[in-house]
């Protein structure tokens, strides 16, 4: 019988920040048993994925081996860790384990997808474990920005792996458990074969700051502001929601929330009893009846999302409520690269309204991820034989690998698709499997390489010309072609007409025998229209040809 191997394979998350999905295998190659850690999404943009609703890792590799998948483990309730569960579960079909608050969110994902929420089971806290085939999985509380975030201790017959999840070294996170180095020290004592570790903030040179460091500056702002104060942050940054709400409450302000995602998160927090001391909230429909100087609004949309409360407040109003000169708006957040223009649009709209905007992320925001020096602290506490960076773009993984190597550790750069063998002392990449992305497009999951979105991007750049050609069975044109253009400049108002005339000439000038074949007609039409359009207006459109033949 073949030798048992312990392997690590990132299907998503090791090539981007987002869409986390990591696979651990144990057993003889070809007959390994698996656990999948996190089933997250990442978000589309107009640049490469217009019209797409969500992006997630393609689970094809494990879907083909779903009968050997023992469990799906969710580390915490952020969308980039749990957001794809409802969409991908049908291909995976394995019990899902998460701590209670995370499980509550995961069950909602299942329900929304019409799946059985009982597939999601509450996991205990380390040192208790979940048993899944050859794996024994412990959920170790870590500080992050949402309650019940967990690192995982994964014990296998070939040794112990620590999968960090998202974490920071915060002794006072205000929500969720604090960072407890003694637990990690204890875990490390038994020998850690590999630390698979979050790389998000590897380029941040200074030690991370605690959520508690925000109490004073945000408190000061709440007290000093003369009018209304509104703040935005990630809807799922429950720690920050509490910090902001508490500061407002302490300053005598009534707290309300605008935006569905935020309400859901906080309600789930109440339901799971992980927010025992959240200040009282009033319904946002009552906001108008409260004096502005006594009001504080938490609003969704810190990344400039057009439909979220912040964008609507900036451009006009949200559910009838408007911003005014003298109001203060706080971005208690960091703008994620790619969202700068959307955020700037909002800042300018607020400037036009005379709203005072504060975007100073050094004073009013702290990250939920471990910075570079913090990573070294964890490396040293666990002292793993191997360090495998995850949750990062390639450059993050490389920098994290080099950080480990610089300290004399064995760092393994393993992007999505690299199969890492952890069986021996020294981990190494032994194989590469195909990975990819799926897009949720409307209700349908499509492959990133299916060409559907590429066709939309081409229409967006080039415009679209549709042609209806009517031919007799023998190839003789039965009528002039008919052309409709979409998204093309038409400076003289006669573009379609001129294209029709040119195409008519081309068809009339072609041997009838060549027009008997639809493929040949299509080629001729496309070429004629692209060339003519380019000459007339300097654009080479996407062309759709509809050939009607009369029998």
């Amino acid at each position: 019988m073949a030798e048992n191997k312990l392997t690590y394979l990132a299907l998503g998350g090791a090539g981007e920040i987002g869409m986390n999905m990591y696979l651990y295998g144990y057993g003889p190659v070809g007959d390994q048993r698996f656990i999948l850690v996190d089933v997250g999404v990442t978000f589309p943009d107009m640049d490469g994925t217009p019209g797409v609703d969500l992006i997630m890792a393609d689970p094809e590799f494990i879907a083909q081996r779903a009968d050997r998948l023992e469990a799906i483990i969710i580390t915490h309730a952020h969308e980039d860790h749990v957001g794809a569960l409802g969409h991908l579960f049908p291909r995976l079909q394995a019990p899902v384990y998460a701590r209670p608050f995370t499980a509550l969110n995961a069950r909602q994902k299942m329900e929304r997808a019409g799946l059985d929420p009982r597939q999601v089971r509450d996991a205990p806290v380390w040192p208790d474990t979940v048993e899944a085939g050859p794996f024994s999985i412990g959920f170790v509380p870590v500080s992050h920005s949402i309650p019940e975030s967990s690192a995982l201790v994964i014990d296998t017959p070939a040794g112990r792996i620590v999968h960090s999840g998202d974490f920071k070294l915060d002794p006072t996170p205000l929500v969720g458990e604090p960072w407890q180095p003694e637990i990690f020290e204890e875990i490390g004592k038994k020998g850690v074969k590999a630390l698979v570790c979050d790389s998000t903030n590897v380029f941040s040179e200074h030690p991370g700051r605690s959520e508690a460091s925000l109490i004073d500056p945000i408190g000061g702002l709440m007290r000093e502001a003369k009018g209304l104060v509104v703040a935005t942050t990630f809807a799922s940054n429950i720690a920050r929601l509490r910090t902001l709400a508490q500061a407002a409450h302490d300053a005598g302000r009534t707290v309300t929330m605008m935006g569905r995602a935020m309400n859901t998160m906080v309600q789930n927090g109440f339901a799971a009893k992980v927010l025992p001391d959240f200040p009282p909230l009033v319904d946002s429909r009552e906001a108008d009846s409260i004096p502005r100087e006594n009001l504080f609004i938490l609003a969704t949309g810190s990344q400039g999302e057009r439909r979220a409360a912040t964008a609507q407040l900036a451009s006009q109003s949200y559910m009838g409520f408007q911003l005014k000169e003298g109001d203060t708006f706080l971005f208690s957040s960091k703008t994620i690269p790619g969202n700068e223009k959307g955020v700037a649009r909002i800042l300018n709209q607020m400037s036009e309204r005379g709203v005072r905007v504060i975007t100073d992320d050094d004073h009013y925001h702290v990250s939920g991820h471990a910075n570079r020096p913090d990573l070294t602290v964890v490396h040293n506490l666990l002292n793993p034989q191997n360090l495998i960076p995850m949750h990062g773009e390639h450059r993050h993984l490389r920098a994290h690998t080099e950080l480990a190597q610089g300290a004399g550790r064995h760092g393994v750069l393993a992007p999505n698709g690299a199969v890492v063998d952890l069986t021996g002392d020294r981990a190494e990449v032994i194989d590469h499997v195909e990975t990819g992305r799926l897009y949720l497009d409307g209700k349908v999951l499509i492959g990133a390489l299916d060409g559907i979105v590429r066709e939309r991007v081409r229409m967006a750049i080039r415009g679209h010309v549709t042609v209806s050609v009517m031919l007799e069975a023998d190839g003789r044109p039965a009528d002039r072609p008919w052309i409709e253009t979409s998204g093309l400049p038409d400076p003289r108002g006669d573009l379609a007409e001129r294209l029709e005339a040119e195409l008519d000439d081309a068809l009339e000038g072609t041997k009838r025998s060549s027009l008997r074949d639809d493929g040949a007609v299509e080629k001729l039409v496309e070429k004629t229209l692209r060339t003519t359009c380019d000459e007339l207006i300097g654009k080479k459109p996407v062309v759709t040809v509809m050939i009607n033949r009369f029998e």
Copy 2:
């Protein structure tokens, strides 16, 4: 006769960083004479302007009064100040004045547009002036990042205006003239009615740094790098090109350039004799024959542009030349908001190749614009009666206005379209005129609000369905409708067929009399297809209907 008025009106640039275009008027309202300062562009993106080639201010207001336009003044040769000249000159038809190097670039824009380059005239340096109707215009050398950058002294019968252009307070700019406070002090002595001032860096709290401060860090990098060094910056940042090339040359490296825009700029610099001491350049086709450790490459594409040399070097090769492990790549630039994702794509590709990438813009880049404290220095030197911030988004203009007001000055927030009366001592906004943007889309200038680009964006988000419907004259369907979909998911491969069947049913089930009118048929078809598509795949596509009626 009506009273003479001196007015300022931003047509572009006071609502964005880019597409600068400012209009000064003098004379009786309704019969004023004008000069236009700068005719710049800004750049499109996939988010809002897919497929667009360039964006510029709509000159409609002055185009309607072109017979009263005395001159077009170009402050310097950057694209956001001169890039639209060839496209808009036909609507303006007035002599263009610029200093010789700028004029050379401006003439090339004219020639490329098939216009007479002799419309562009060389302007002298202050205290000599250009006379244009009631305006006397002096070009005052300022430090920026391109040779012959100028502030303008605009003397009128109603007083003196200083238009800052783009500038920084750099005593050692390495290229172009240094900052000369004594000239500004002198100019201020005669009394300045208004300073119209660059706001780009109003949010940068520290005094700006000199180009010369880069010599040591960049020199060190060139000497210490073991292999090839490549650097990118804006093609038009001639100062930086020289700083980088000189440092490489001093370190014993042969210098070459990759990218058309950069070559053009530097050749123009040689032609205008403004780059007397630029190190020798070798043809990039020779790069392969030079030992990598002795080579330095300047590459275009610091903003991640997909077709530029940097992106091509990162993804594969540029003109046959490839990057390798051990090479060093320097971004001597700042990433403009909105370009982060494109730049990150390149950083990750370089990481995959093992290229060492340096993006530290604190050490290897300085801005070409005056920072907040520098702005105060200029305010104080000129001591204007009125301060009008320009070249900024609304939030920059507001912050700059507030900076002036905080120092007891009269600051006027005048975004694009606000007509400011400068006749009296205290400037005020007296009118608002319509302004807008034009897009160069292929060869055609279209209005931003024409709906053409919006239609492309809609197709990109929703996909496109084209329908050919054949009806008898009386409304009876002559055949089943024919549908083609573009950019829509088709999970079962039968989407068009199912849409056709649904539409056929809808047409058959409709009274024939209702199908006699094309408009009614279109509405029915659109509604049926949107609803059915939404049910089947969750997308509501753009629908184009082609109705063929048989007579």
